[in-house]
Amino acid sequence: MSKRMVEFEVLRYNPEKDSEPSFRRYSVECVDEWVVLDALNHIKETIDPTLSYRWSCHMAVCGSCGMMINGEPKLACKAFLRNYEGVIRVEPLQHFPIERDLVTVIDDFIGKLKRVKPYLIPKKDKPLTEGEFLQTPAELKKFKQYTMCINCMLCYAACPEYGLIPKFIGPAAISLAHRYNQDSRDGGRDQRQEEIATTEGVWECSFTGACSEVCPEHVDPASALQQVKIKSTVDWYQEHLMPWVKK
């Protein structure tokens, strides 16, 4: 096992003692194959047990360990030390309030996820006796990529509009709404439109595209948001010019 010393600058914040966050430097003996999360665990286990951060699966499927690594939103378990040179700067995910050290307050995000009604709302009540919903592979492909979101919030950290306008519902939540809208089994689009076709819904998006660039699961939220904009525009004209047509 080949090892080397790596310097980390980690943003620390203790709400009970500090008035503001500050960087703390750690010199860590790291195995070459490690990811940043391994280094953080090593710091916590052997150098500074007070370091707080979220993590769980260590394999980029749970979405817990999102943080800013050298100014880029990344999953700490997917940030390989071999890709970095010099001092590695670790900060809590941008655009979220800091709870403590690398732990952010995610209530805003959770609330927004709930608002978009991220569950199947069938077109009509279908009792179990009528059997299962049938769906072709083509129908599945229409929304499959948007199901891959692991709620890691890297897209919210990357999105400049969310940073400037905190009430923006944001990439992941709107992509999730789109996932259900595109599902052939679903009939709840009108209800979701009440949330996402608003000013703080999709219309705060300026198609920066940063969300899709940082998404570790290649969900491409930017594409979902543009598709929602187009459908919402068609809706608007239909509602205003042909209000007698039932959708």
Partner: protein, 113 residues
């Protein structure tokens, strides 16, 4: 929460961005040649007047100007916001007024031809 009326201007922006993407570069090349003192034959008064007098020419000219103006106006509104100018109501009013004025002027000029 009420659904937004942004679709009106966003639709114009989407059309405007598309029209300007296809047409503006070539037009700039043509007037660049004029700026360099080598105005091509197609820029002569007779040629352009002939083109813009025809109903199809009028339609094309109006289409390009109208959509390019509104597309640029909406994007400029967003750009002001991104630069930290928060008076969105004021900015929107000004940029859309300019686009509207440009559109009206274009229509008027075309009707005079």
């Amino acid at each position: 929460m009420a659904k937004s009326n942004k679709p009106i201007v966003w639709g114009l922006f989407a059309a405007g961005g598309t029209v300007s993407a296809f047409v503006i570069p070539a037009l700039v090349v043509v007037t660049l040649l004029a700026a360099l003192g080598h105005a091509p034959a197609g820029l002569s008064y007779q040629a352009v007047h002939g083109f813009a007098s025809h109903w199809l020419g009028k339609l094309m000219v109006f289409g390009v100007m109208f959509f390019s103006l509104w597309g640029s106006a909406h994007r400029l509104r967003i750009t002001f916001y991104d630069f930290g100018v928060r008076a969105d109501g004021l900015v929107a009013t000004v940029v859309y007024l300019v686009a509207a004025a440009g559109s009206v002027a274009t229509a008027m000029y075309l009707m005079q031809l």
